[in-house]
Amino acid sequence: MILDAESRPDDNWLADRTFDICVIGSGPAGATIAHRLARRGFQVGLFEAGGLQYDQKSQDLYQGTTSGQPYYDLTSCRLRFFGGSSNHWGGWTRPLDAYDFDARLDQPLSGWPIYKADLDTYAGETDAILDLPLDTAPADFFDLHPDELVPRLFRFSRPTTRFGALYHDDFDKTDNIRVVLNANLVDLRLDDSLRAVQSAVFQSYDKPGRFTVKARVFALCLGGIENPRFLLNANSQINAGIGNENDLVGRYFLEHAHAPVGRIVVRKPLTRMICYSPKPEFMLGAHIMNFGLRLGSFDQWNRGDFTGALDPEPACTIDFDTLLKAEMAAAKPACPAMVGDAFVACEQTLDPDNRVTLIDTRDRFGLREMNLNWHLSDTDLRTLKTAATTVATEMARQDVGRMKIVEWLANDIPPNKDELYGGNHHMGTTRMSANPKTGVVDANLKVHSLANLYIGGSSVFPTSGHANPTYSITQLALRLGDHLTSVLRS
């Protein structure tokens, strides 16, 4: 059933129960975990800071500052109501590549403590939740150099899954789940040993007072920026914050650097968006990160109904050289089917100074706001340039088309905010590692230093690959649901 903390009778309204699990945050991770455990009969509490719809007073709690590479307003790059940021998700999906899980000697701290196979187990369920078409091998439209590049498929959630809408009715009619709206997490209270969470403390907006929730296990699913912000703020018993014994909470923030990198003229019409990624041997040899370089139409793939197919265009009778010459003179394309855009989204290197830190300003609940510092490394920029140059060179070598590389990238000019930006993918800030010295959570997503606190969402990614994260977030949430099932039954 769905309840509203704003209309609770008193602050003791949940004091007489101990949930099996208290899930905090109702985005893709939190909603998936809560739904899985509720269906298995556990007593689930799911606490959402916002209401059922967008509300400015909730959204304003995302205020913070940024530094480094220009970044989005922090109140606009995520959503703070039922369903979380899935409410503005673009619907692009790809699983991580197998080699995204590998450690690389040239990338200290890289490598996941699990294999891709551990997540592939959940591919079918994830496909169903996200309502995806079949996962088929993409054709190599241009038949480019086999030693360097591999074509990659994106699948699109259409209509895009909004996790709040997906689970609302199930949650509302299920007796063993309590969804509590307008419940802002303000503290986690530990037991005397400081080894386990005893309770979570919440506050609503207008009704004064705070209420406490007890549970056997807790799952923090607030998003890749709010998870570390909350843990750093949770210093009422541990000065450094919960899970921060090794000064890792908030560090190693990862984004996918997104950049339009060029224009293309092709010999045969583009009918679908094409994506190329580097083979692992190429990545290692060229000392670059993973990337996805898309060829197609920037305007079309930004539409909410884009499914990979490009709009049919009239047949073109103009020869290739005439088109190329016109495009080189920046003339308006006479044959839209034969010209297009090149765009890269790339993995970032791990950098401890890309991080979430607390600032002195406090929000209405007394928690400190945060600063997000994000910048790109030389390797990140080299990855973008290598991606563009490799595809451009191979298109010319195979004589399938020609590509112009944008000026800033070709000439090593620092990009402005319109030339390079993030993908609203917030990852890495409570990273997963088998070693507590190098990670906040273990391979089962349990905070190393606590017996019953788990973290869901992309903040646990130790590295990011180039794939949009929602697919992997959902896989990890299903896997965590299974792990918690065995924990709660033991």
Partner: protein, 73 residues
């Protein structure tokens, strides 16, 4: 559940090779020349990968015979 706590031998060898900057696949051509290329004056520069020669002209990556051919049109 599979939990990895160490690199496999295959991975370790692969990473050592990469760390030494050695080519990992026989015949693999890296676009190093192209990556280093820039033509800030908007002019034309050329580079080779393998036996192929390319030019960069105002940001366009072209085959070496493109510009003479286009000039005749």
């Amino acid at each position: 559940m599979l939990v990895r706590d160490r690199l496999t031998r295959r991975h370790a060898i692969k990473f050592l090779l990469a760390g030494a900057g050695l080519p990992l696949v026989a015949g693999l051509t890296l676009p190093g020349a192209a990556v280093a290329m820039a033509n800030p004056d908007g002019g034309t520069d050329s580079f080779r990968t393998g036996s192929d020669r390319f030019v960069i002209h105002q940001g366009w990556v072209l085959r070496s015979d493109d510009l003479p051919r286009l000039a005749k049109r």
